[in-house]
């Protein structure tokens, strides 16, 4: 069996004797007998070689696609080698939250760098050190906006459905009313938004590019929201911000994002990264860790966890959130990714995504697909298929290609820098065969 306990049985006995006991069971003398379990139906342990084989057998029951044309909240992008090399360094992987600043400057500085990059990317003033994922980031952002007078949030129906679910869960327990805003042509209906805004509305949350890939009319909705005194939360795709107008430039109050596209694998859903940035005025409402710069007694630059008066270990039930562990290593991953790419590289990835998506859309239209919604899109779009989406999915799967996701009877396709012309042409040829059958 695998064993990471260091001491041998003999050493354990010696140590027990040193403290006046005879057996390990003696350590648990205080435990009432009724609380001691009689049996544990857990298999015997195994050697490293055996366990590795077992896990590989399980992994082999997954199907890994050569090419992925599916997004809908999780995206396969190229992960530069340098990213993997850095974020697998043992020190970064195994350290705890940097409570002891004197021996944690590496982690603290990396978070400070992350915070700076997130502010730059989103055009906002302040960032936290991360939260669990994009959906919880959105839910926590809503909590930042709630107060005694305003206890309602308007949620666009074009938000990722997973995000809507999580926002609803978080709001229900705090008695925050969630009102969805319907769509017009696949985008948030501004008139409907206007009708639903009132003096109780704490926040509006809109995603762009939205779940259908469409770029929302943020400028108008920000104006409408602000006119009624509501805060504006914009949910973004961080890769898209390589080229798209930022939440900061639109005048949003809070920006949230799923950070997974920035160097993290799809990983069957996690670990991911919740990005949260905001305007300066809301900094003290941010949940979770924040790193700040200061000096030590000799005037040397130093980084520390700061603004902790917001946090659970100080404020307990009055804290702004219960967050303790966040996604520090994922934040570092995003930070290394952005540094490896640089402003030009990130822009190039974004341009690749948008160009490939449009090329794919054009080729599909030639085959008789119909685009469900007009309007500018980034790297995802919804089409109605002339053939059964399931037949298309199967034919593509046979060639190692993951088709778009079936959504509302159509197919939501996604293209990235990893699905180039050759791959798209292959997809098109396969789809053509399905249609001609």
């Amino acid at each position: 069996m695998g064993r990471y306990v260091v001491s041998t049985k003999e050493e354990q006995l010696e140590m027990l004797r040193a403290i006046g006991l005879d057996s390990l069971d003696d350590l648990y003398a205080d435990v009432p007998d009724e609380a001691k379990a009689s049996e544990f139906n857990v298999p015997e342990g195994m050697s490293e070689l055996e366990v590795r084989e077992k896990l590989e057998e399980m992994a082999d029951r997954n199907v890994r696609f050569r090419k992925v044309f599916r997004g809908a909240g999780a995206y396969r992008h190229y992960i530069p080698a340098i990213v993997k090399s850095i974020v697998t360094k043992e020190e970064f992987v195994t350290a705890y939250t940097p409570y002891q600043a004197e021996i944690s400057q590496g982690v603290l500085q990396s978070i400070f760098e992350y915070q700076t990059q997130m502010c730059e990317l989103t055009g906002m003033d302040a960032s936290n050190a991360s939260i669990y994922d994009g959906a919880t980031a959105a839910a926590e952002a809503v909590m930042m906006c709630i107060d005694r007078k305003r206890n309602k949030v308007l949620v666009s129906e074009a938000l990722n459905p997973e995000t809507i679910e999580v926002v609803k869960t978080y709001c229900e327990s705090r008695d925050v009313e969630v009102v969805t805003v319907p769509l017009k042509e696949g985008k948030t209906d501004i008139e409907a938004l206007k009708e639903r805004l009132d003096s109780q509305t704490a926040a509006v949350i809109i995603q762009s590019p939205n779940f259908y890939g469409l770029i929302e009319d943020i400028a108008s909705s920000v104006e409408v929201a602000h006119d009624s005194g509501a805060k504006y939360i914009m949910s973004v795709n961080p890769i898209a911000l390589g080229i798209l107008r930022t939440p900061g430039e639109y005048g949003c109050d809070i920006c949230v994002a799923e950070g997974q596209p920035l160097g993290m694998p799809m990983g069957f859903g996690g670990p991911y990264l919740g990005i949260m940035t905001c305007k300066a005025a809301m900094t003290r409402k941010l949940p979770g860790r924040i790193v700040g710069e200061t000096t030590d007694h000799e005037g040397r630059r130093a980084f520390v966890l700061t603004l902790q008066a917001r946090e659970q270990h100080i404020r307990r039930e009055k804290a702004s959130s219960n967050v303790c562990s966040n996604e520090a290593l994922c934040a570092m991953t995003a930070s290394v990714y952005l540094a490896a790419m640089g402003p030009d590289g990130l822009k190039q990835v974004a341009e690749n995504c948008v160009a490939h998506a449009h090329y794919l859309r054009d080729r599909l239209l030639e085959l008789g697909f119909r685009q469900r919604y007009d309007g500018e899109f980034f790297h995802e779009f919804l089409v109605e298929s002339p053939a059964d989406p399931k037949a298309i999915e199967k034919a593509l799967a046979d060639k190692g290609i993951l088709s778009g996701l079936e959504v509302d009877g159509g197919i939501l396709f996604c293209a990235t820098e990893l699905t180039g012309k050759k791959d798209i042409d292959e997809l098109i040829e396969t789809v053509k065969e399905v249609i001609s059958k």
Binding site: N62, F268, E317, A319, E351, H358
Partner: protein, 478 residues
């Protein structure tokens, strides 16, 4: 150390993405960002060296002992990292057809069953991403339960004053009123206080056992009975589970739901503050309220189901799946006997250290401890002026990570020591020697300790200044 931005030079970068192979698509001008983000422009070699420099200023589990109480900083086995890095796990889209993800589902299902068995629970969600997230989820189970029974008065969650700060914070987030109860001198629940605190508004109790003084609450069965008789439910904070794995099931102590910290008890690494994973288990009568989806198995085929009265989702998809792979690898490696040995030796190691340190430091409790113990430096401070912070900071010069400082709050000058099972006897002796030496130094030269540490890259940082005038992003000069 220079910041990434201070290393940036215009035009430097690696070439990662090929040029476009299709026509460019130009979005309308109004949609384009105006200001280029000031991301670093840096060569790959400089980027690589930058992080190597940062890495040297991080204390990982392999850089020396890490007796950070309540955090269970045990060794993170390397094979766990390897299995979680298999491309057939990492490169899987969460929305693939279920027939193409049977391996991932099997990992989730097996983990769930094993963790249910170890905790005495009947069903479990792996969706919560961290311990506090698990607490929140567990409290929503309790909330849903009472609401479903139309028992609308139950708004109170009882939390002992020795609890982790996340407990009351989670209770507030879940819409409850927090009722703090005093703990007894052993850090456990004071039964009289508890009886006074319960009534028909009691929704539940949040408790960790062993408690935060590291003591197993021998009244536990009575505690959970009092809550149940009042109509409340009992929530087990699994932060201290490392003391009892393979020996005691929280379910047998009368707990109705629990969270676990895979990044503590089940050896997955902490990543400098995440990603963690905080699965939530519950007894059968609460299973219908679990978050969706729940992984299931039928005739060897794995799938997802939505619990009948689900609370909804607490996170996207299925949680931090790759962390779950690591935990499963760990549990399968150790097996029943190995898990029992691990928890027992964690307890042995703590007692072994405490036994010697008792002569030099006050202890919050003199009893046999579980996997951790709390030193109370109140006396030392009165005698010498040296406080818990001073001792912690001075220990940095010896290459070890200090114990948790100033927690639990019921001990004013607390240092909480959790050596874990993955330290050798020599390592424990060496660690103990350091604290013995520091206790002696406190009497000889308190001034020396007030100014420690001396060998680290920076001295004690000015935290007040950081909070007063927050600088939380780099100030670009241009």
């Amino acid at each position: 150390m220079k910041l990434l931005f201070e290393r940036s030079r215009k035009g430097r970068s690696a070439v990662i993405v090929p040029p476009l192979d299709v026509n460019e698509y130009r979005l309308p001008d109004g949609l384009a960002r105006e200001k280029t983000p000031r991301l670093p422009e840096i060569s790959e070699v400089d980027l690589s060296r930058h992080y190597t420099e940062l890495m040297k200023q991080v204390h990982g589990v392999n850089d020396g002992a890490y007796p950070l109480g309540s955090c269970t900083m045990k060794y993170n086995p390397k094979v766990d990292e390897e299995t979680a890095a298999l491309a057939l796990f990492t490169d899987i889209h969460p929305l693939q057809d279920l027939f193409t993800v049977q391996g991932s589902l099997e990992v989730m299902y097996r983990t769930k069953r094993l963790l249910c068995e170890l905790t005495g629970m009947e069903d479990m969600t792996l969706q919560p991403a961290a311990g506090a997230h698990g607490e929140y989820t567990g409290l929503l189970l309790i909330r849903k339960y009472h609401l479903d029974r139309n028992d609308l008065k139950r708004k109170n969650i009882i939390v002992p004053d020795s609890a982790h700060g996340t407990n009351p914070a989670s209770a507030s987030m879940a819409g409850f009123r927090v009722i703090n109860v005093k703990s007894n001198e052993e850090g456990g629940i004071d039964l009289d206080e508890l009886k006074k605190a319960v009534n028909d508004e009691t929704a539940g109790l949040m408790l960790t056992n062993p408690n935060t003084l590291g003591i197993f609450d021998r009244n536990i069965l009575e505690v959970t009975k009092i809550i149940h008789e009042a109509g409340g439910l009992c929530y087990y904070d699994g932060a201290n589970m490392n003391a009892i794995v393979g020996r005691i099931k929280p379910g047998d102590m009368g707990f109705d739901c629990i969270h676990l910290n895979l990044h503590k008890t089940f050896a997955t690494p902490h990543g400098g503050g995440g990603p963690g994973s905080g699965p939530v288990g519950c007894k059968g009568f609460l299973a219908g309220y679990l978050p969706k989806p729940i992984v299931t198995e039928k005739d060897g085929v794995y799938g997802f189901e939505t619990p009948e009265k689900t609370m909804g989702q607490v996170r996207s998809f299925y949680g931090n799946f790759l962390v779950v792979v690591k935990a499963l690898t760990y549990i399968m490696s150790l097996g029943r006997e190995g898990l029992l040995e691990a928890s027992s030796v964690a307890v042995l190691n703590a007692n072994y250290m405490m036994h010697r340190l008792k002569e030099y430091y006050g202890m919050a409790s003199g009893k046999i401890c579980m996997h951790e113990f709390v030193m109370d430096l109140d006396e030392l401070k009165k005698e010498t002026g040296v406080n818990a912070m001073d001792i912690a900071k001075a220990s940095l010069d010896f290459g070890v990570h200090p114990p948790t400082m100033y927690f639990p709050l019921i001990v004013h000058e607390a240092l909480m020591v959790e050596p874990t099972e993955t330290e050798s006897r020599e390592s424990l002796d060496a660690l103990t020697d350091i604290f013995v030496k520091l206790a002696e130094k406190a009497h000889e030269d308190p001034e020396y300790l007030h100014n420690a540490p001396y060998t680290t890259m920076i001295g004690r940082p000015d935290e007040a200044r950081a909070a007063r005038t927050p600088v939380i992003r780099y100030d670009f000069e241009d």
